[in-house]
Amino acid sequence: MQRDLVERARKGDHDAFAELAGAAISRLDSAAWLMLRDVEQAKDAVQNALVRAWRDLPTLRDPDRFDAWLHRLLVHACIDEARRLRRHRLDVDLTTISAPSIVDDVSTIEDRDRLERGFLRLEPEMRAVIVLHHYLDLPMPVVAATLGIPLGTAKSRLHRALTEMRAALDADSRVRGDLVEGRA
C-alpha cells in the first residue's frame, strides 16, 4: 500500500504524497519535538523535511526505504534547526520550556525535568541517536543507516550520549542535594 503511494508520489501525484505525509506527520512531529524541545522549531523542521521529501522524492531509488529516508531528512532538518536555534539563543532570552500539563506526582515531574535538562545539554546529533533508537525503536544498524554513519560510530555516539546524560543527571542531583541541605 505504502509502496504504491510512494510510487505515485514519485511521479508527481500530490494526493498520494498528502496521504503519506498525513500518515507520518504525527510520528515526525513527536520525534522533532523530542529532539528540539521547541514546538515552533519542531514544526519548522517537520515542514522542511516534508517539503524536501516532496521535492526530492523522484530521486529516491528504493520506494521501500521511504520511511528511513524521511527519518533521515527529519534528522537533518532538526539538526539544522537546532544549530539555528543555538545561534538565535545567543541574542535573545528564551522563555522557559513548559512542563507537561498533566497532573503527576512531584517526583515524576522532577525526574522528567532532570531528564529534560540533561537531554538539552546534548549535541543535536546525540539527541537524534537517542530519539531514533529509544523513541522510534529503530535497531542500531537502521539508526546508523538513517544517519548515514558507520554502525560503530552510531553505537559509540549512543554510548557517549547516555554517559553524558548520566553525568548531567548526577551533577543535577548533587546540586539539588546541596540546595536541600543549605550548602549552596
Binding site: A31, L34, V46, V131
Partner: protein, 434 residues
Amino acid sequence: MTTNERLERTMSAWLRDDAGFRVPDHLDEVLAVTRDTRQRPAWSSLERWLPVDTTFRPRLFTVPPAARVIAVAALLLLILAIAILAAGSRGRLPEPFGIARNGVFLTSRDGDLFRIDPSTAESQPVTVGEGYDFSPIFSRDGTKFTFLRSDGPLTEPAILTLYVADANGSNVRALTAPTKSLDWFDWAPDGSQVTYVADGNLWVVDLAGGSPRKINGVGRVHFSTWLPPDGKEILFRQETRSPAIFAVSPDGESPRRAVSKTPASNEFDYQSLALSPDGSHLTFTRWFERGPDGQPYPDSLGWLPRVFSMEIATGTEVMYPTPPGTGQRGTTVYSPDGTLVAYARIHREGAYEIVVADADGSGNERTIGGKRPGPPDGSTIDAAWAFTPDGKALVVRYGNDTQGRNVLVPLDGSPTTDLGSGELGFVDVQRLAP
C-alpha cells in the same frame, strides 16, 4: 541491571510520555507549501539515496547550441576513457595476486599428503609414512608448499613442526623445531618468509635459513596475515579485553594500530581476519546480541557474529547482508581478483550455508552448496572453503577435523566434483601464473 540500562529504560518511558502530548495541526500548511513546490527530476541526483543540496547553480553565460553538443560529446568521451582506465586498473593486481590458472590440487588424508587430478579425482601420494602430515598450503606463486607434521600421534595441545617442500614434493625440510600450539601460518607475498603463531606469540621464519624469530612487544596474537600486495607489514589481532588490529614489520620494527577509527564493541570483535588481494580492505567479524529485527538471538551465547568489510585507510565499515534470524561465521575468503567474498551464514536453527557475495557489500549474493545441518546453538561450522586461483569455483571441505568430504563447487552452478574424504584433509590449489 546496569546503570546505563536503567537510564535507557527511564529515558524510553520519558520520551514516550513526552511525545504523547504532540498533536500535529499543521499538515494543511505543509501541503499548501508542497503543492506549490516543483519536484526535482529523477536524473538530477547521481546517488539517489543521499539528498543533494546544490542542484541548481546560477548560469554565468549562455553557451551556443553547437558548442553545447561538442561539450557533451567531449564529456561522454572523457567518461568513457575514465571507465576504461578504471576497469583496466582493477584487473591489474601485481603478481602473485589476481586471477591465475589452476595447477595441482594438494590434500592431506589420514596423515599423508596427496596430489589430486581435479578432472578424475584420482590421487597420488606426495609424502607417505614419515610422521603424520596435514594442512598443505601453497606459496602464493605456487612454487612451494608448507605443511604440518606430528612425529607421533596427535596430542592436545599438539606438538607440530612446520615443513616446506617444492611444489612437486621434493626438497622437504623443517622450518621450525617441534612447537606447541602452532597455528595460523601465512606465506609472505614474495614467498621468502612465513609467519605463524605459536602459543599466542608471533613468529617469522626465513626460507633462506636461520632460526625462526619471535616478534616481541606485540602481546598475544591471532590471525596473523601479511599485508598485500608488498608484504611490508604483518597484520594481526591483538588478543585483549578490547581487541584491536595492529601491523608490524616482519623484522619487529614499528608496530602500529592499523585500524584506529572504530573501537571493538566487545572482546570478541575483529576475529577471522582476511585481507583483500590489493590490501585496501579487510573482513572480520563483530558480535551482536540482537538480530537486525531487534530480537535477541536464541542461541546459547545469546548472540551471533556478522561479517564486516572495512576500508583500512578510512575505517569505513560495511556489514554484509544479514537476513533476519541469521548470523555469519567462518573465516571469510576473497576471490583472487578481490571482487567476491565467501563466508558462512548461520540460521537460527543452527543450519548453515556458504554465501558468495560482492566484496563491496552492495548486497549482491548467492548461496552455494545448499543448507547443511549444524548445532542448534550455531557454535561451530564444520566446513572450510577457499576460491580456486581461476576464481571460478570454491574448494569446500564439509565436515570436521576427523571426518569430512572435499568438494569442488563451481560458482556457475555446474555439477560439483568430489575430491575425496579423510581425517584432517583440506584441499589447496596451486596457483600458476596466468
